[in-house]
Symmetry: C2
Subunit: 220 residues, 2 copies
C-alpha cells in the first residue's frame, strides 16, 4: 500500500474517487454502495476503481484509513488529551468531539458515520482490525485516563472498560438510533445549540455518574 500512499497528493482521479467513495460508503454501507454510483459521483469511468485501487474492497480499506485520518484533523482530541485541564473539562471535550463526529451532516461528518457503520457491521475486508489497532485504541486510552481520574482506584479492568463503553455508547446512540430520534424527538439535535446541549447532557450525566461512583467504596 505504500506505493499508493505516495501517489494520492498528485493524482486527481484517485483523490476524487476516495472522496466520492467516502460519501457513498458512509451513506449506503459497503454492500449497498456500488462502484458505478461512486464513479458517477467522482465523474470517472467504472474501471478506474480497479486501475487505481485493484478492487472495491481495496478502495473501501483505503477509504476507511483516509476517513479516520481526516476525522482526526477535523475533530482532534487535543483538548481531551491535555493533562493540564481538569478531567471533567477533558471529558466534556471528548464527548463533544465524538458526538460531533456522529452528527456532522456536512461532508466531513461522513467519517464518523463510516466508522460507526464498520464497527456495527464489519465488512469482510478486514480493514477494521487495522483501524482499531493503529488509531482507535489510542483514543480509548485517552478516555480511560479521564475515567480513571474521575472514579479513582478500586475498579477492575473489566469495569473500567464498561464505564468507558457507557460513555461512548451514549454518543454513538445518536448515530445508530438516528432514525428513531428523527421520528420521536428530532428537536434535541435540530440546531448546533441543541447538539451542544446534548453533549452537555451526556457530559453531566456521565460526570455525575462517575463522581457518584467515586464517592462509593469503589466497586459498583
Amino acid at each position: 500500500m505504500n506505493a499508493f500512499n505516495d501517489t494520492p497528493c498528485h493524482d486527481p482521479t484517485r483523490k476524487r474517487l476516495l472522496q466520492a467513495a467516502l460519501d457513498v460508503f458512509a451513506d449506503k454501507g459497503f454492500r449497498d454502495a456500488t462502484v458505478r454510483e461512486i464513479c458517477a459521483k467522482a465523474e470517472v469511468n467504472a474501471a478506474s476503481v480497479n486501475y487505481h485501487f485493484r478492487s472495491k474492497e481495496a478502495l473501501y480499506s483505503e477509504v476507511l484509513s483516509f476517513a479516520y485520518r481526516e476525522a482526526n484533523e477535523r475533530y482532534p482530541y487535543t483538548l481531551a488529551s491535555d493533562a493540564s485541564l481538569p478531567p471533567e473539562v477533558r471529558l466534556r471535550h471528548f464527548i463533544g468531539n465524538l458526538l460531533a463526529r456522529m452528527l456532522d451532516d456536512t461532508y466531513l461528518g461522513r467519517h464518523g458515520k463510516l466508522l460507526a457503520r464498520e464497527i456495527a457491521d464489519p465488512t469482510p475486508t478486514g480493514a477494521l482490525d487495522q483501524v482499531i489497532e493503529t488509531t482507535m485504541k489510542p483514543h480509548c486510552e485517552v478516555l480511560d485516563g479521564i475515567v480513571a481520574e474521575l472514579v479513582g482506584p478500586g475498579y477492575s479492568e473489566a469495569d473500567m472498560h464498561r464505564l468507558g463503553l457507557s460513555i461512548v455508547g451514549q454518543c454513538l446512540m445518536y448515530h445508530h438510533s438516528r432514525s428513531l430520534i428523527d421520528r420521536v424527538c428530532p428537536e434535541i439535535i435540530a440546531t448546533p445549540e441543541e447538539i451542544a446541549n446534548t453533549a452537555d447532557c451526556i457530559a453531566h450525566f456521565s460526570i455525575a455518574a462517575l463522581k457518584h461512583l467515586a464517592t462509593k467504596d469503589g466497586r459498583a
Copy 2:
C-alpha cells in the same frame, strides 16, 4: 395483512420461512440476506417467498413485526412496569431486559439484533414506522416514567428524552460495537455472570447519574 395474520398458526411452510428469515435477516441485514439462503435454511423452494409473502420486502416487514412480538414474550417488561417496585429496581430490570435482547446469542436473541439493525439503517420497506408507533413507544414511556421518578421535576421534555437515550445508548452499545468489544475486552460479556455484571454496571452508572442530577437544582 390481516389475511396473512390469520394463517400462520396452521401453515408450517410459512412459519418455517418466518423463522429462517428472522435468523438470516438478523445476521446479514436486509440487503445481504438472500431469498435463496432463507429458503435453503427453511428447506423450501425459493418461489415460496413470493407465494406466501408476495416479495422479499413483505417478508421482511412481517419478520420485523414477528420479531418484536416474540422478543416481548421472551423478555417482557412486566417488572420494569411494576409500579409497586422502587424506580431503581425497575430501571435495573429494564436495563437487564434490553441488554439481554442485545446479547442473547441463542435463536431468540435475534429479535433484538434485527431491531437494532433496522433502527440503525432503516430498510426501504417502511416497516420501522409501524414498529415504532405500535410497540416501541410504549417501552419508551416505561423508561420515561422511571427516569421522571428518579430525577424529579424541573427537566425539559428535550432533556428527558436525552436522559432516556443516554440509558438506552449504553445498552445498545453492546450490540452496535460488538465487533470492537470482541476485539478489545471480550471478557466483559463472556459469561452470563459477566453479562449480569455489565447490566449492573450500566444500572449503577445510570442510577448514580440520575440521583446526582436530581440533587442538583434540576436543569443539568
